[in-house]
Assembly symmetry: C2
Homo-oligomer: 290 residues x 2
């Protein structure tokens, strides 16, 4: 068997509604077994949109990325050096144009994207606070990932009061991934002309009725600039990102926390766990090892 390794992550929820029996896509790392495309040869390692399956037939390989740096864990290409990595990098450096000294709030801060966004903002010289959904995750943010502060947004009795405590002068930039009540409280605590980058609202994906937000008017009152974005529009940043982030990894200036489950049979449970926050760091399903 020539197939050596394949890791697959969860599909893009919200974009696609999964219908049982239909093929399901995700971002994975794989080794090319055979190729009719001039850019790829047997033995190449790639990352990109593959399937939740052990072997994939990929008909549009133009969108795959070839892996060149193999002195880092290959699983990183589903995370810090893959799609979530582009999302975090683009969110902080391009969409948010975050600058030294700014006050930055990151939600879902221990997740695949948030842990990177927070570390990048710290490397820029910002004051960075993160929220997460368990004490264990909060400890990770404060003790391992270098956040200035962190709190468990599920346990805080008054989100507005908590944000006012962490940001007495308001938030310059909010990296939004959660939605609902947390987003609503953030709107009350943005500085005038603050910026928000939204790449997801995971709390709102799988609930029958979305939460009513009370504070959308503050978008006007505070003259906020809110940008929705996905990694898709920022793939041109990838070479620059590799140049910056691969040395960060080698020099241990950033770390990346992964939550790996073994075997495709454990994939569905790992996927569902994301919506209740059961994962600890980037959720990965390992199908085979290198």
């Amino acid at each position: 068997m020539q197939f050596l390794m394949k890791k697959t992550e969860f599909p893009m929820s919200g974009y696609n509604y999964y219908v049982p029996g239909s093929p399901i896509n995700g971002y994975g790392v794989a080794k090319v077994l055979d190729s009719g495309h001039p850019n790829f040869s047997a033995g190449d390692l790639i990352w990109g949109a593959t399937g939740w399956e052990e072997y994939s037939l990929i008909q549009n390989p133009e969108k795959l990325f070839k892996i060149h740096h193999t002195d880092v864990p290959l699983s990183y290409y589903t995370g810090i050096l893959g799609m979530p990595g582009i999302t975090a990098y683009a969110g902080i450096f391009e969409v948010g144009s975050v600058k030294k000294g700014e006050c930055v709030f990151i939600s879902a801060a221990s997740g695949a994207v948030g842990q990177l966004a927070g570390q990048y903002a710290k490397l820029l010289g910002c004051y960075v606070v993160g929220s997460a959904g368990s004490q264990e995750k909060v400890d990770l943010l404060k003790n391992k990932l270098g956040f200035d502060a962190a709190f468990n947004y599920k346990e805080v009795p008054d989100l507005d009061a908590a944000l006012k405590r962490y940001f007495p002068e308001g938030i310059d930039f909010y990296f939004e991934q959660v939605g609902g009540k947390l987003f609503d409280a953030v709107l009350l605590n943005m500085k005038v002309h603050g910026r928000i980058a939204i790449c997801g609202m995971i709390s709102q994906y799988n609930i029958p009725e979305p939460e009513a937000l009370k504070n959308l008017m503050h978008i006007a009152f505070k003259r906020l600039n809110i940008k929705g974005f996905t990694h898709r529009d920022h793939h041109h940043l990838y070479p620059k990102m590799l140049e910056t982030v691969v040395p960060y990894i080698r020099e241990k200036k950033v770390m990346y926390v992964e939550d790996i489950v073994e075997g495709l049979e454990n994939g569905p449970q790992a996927l569902v766990g994301l919506f209740s926050g059961r994962n600890f760091g980037k959720q990965i399903v390992a199908l085979a090892h290198h």
Copy 2:
């Protein structure tokens, strides 16, 4: 009595919560009776933040605008040549960067700001649809103000279906002033990379519980750019706006619909009427006539 004329509009709802008995501010047109400030002399006409009162003592006159063009109705300086005028002008030309050929949707389209925003977008060569809250207002938009189409958002059984009919390829730019269900339906009908400028959400100001929005996630999915703004950050555009818009008025390229009630005693009712949409065009309270 040297005081000749004063017109006052409603206060900035949402910004200030009015406490009965306290002074209440609004935007008005007035004649200077006496001045200790070198920039203003008795007899000057001004517009700016004054009070809901017949005579005002203004302690920070630096923020007042002097009126130079008096061949247009002076009431226009509470509207097309005043604060709502700057809002509409900035929203279309600066915040929205609206371009020829784009598909533009304006809510509260017959109001103080919306009627101008729509006409400016038409002058730029856009396809422009407006929504308003009565048949009379819809007729005004279609028959007098040159909108390509208009509909009564209170009577449409399915806002999403209506927007899909008017914008089969989606909306490039939405000028948001209403909020609630209308905003939610618009989010479903924006083009990818569409822009939204928000200067108000009047449907949400005076209700006990804001409406639950289901579609905020589309900010990320569609990579929307949403900017809150007020006229306050765009006063530098005023000279350029006058240069553009005063000739438009003289050449009847734009028209401006005003709803004038007489006497301060009718002010409260006129103010309250805004929240149910009773006004027809820009609401003005006339205290005296020139």
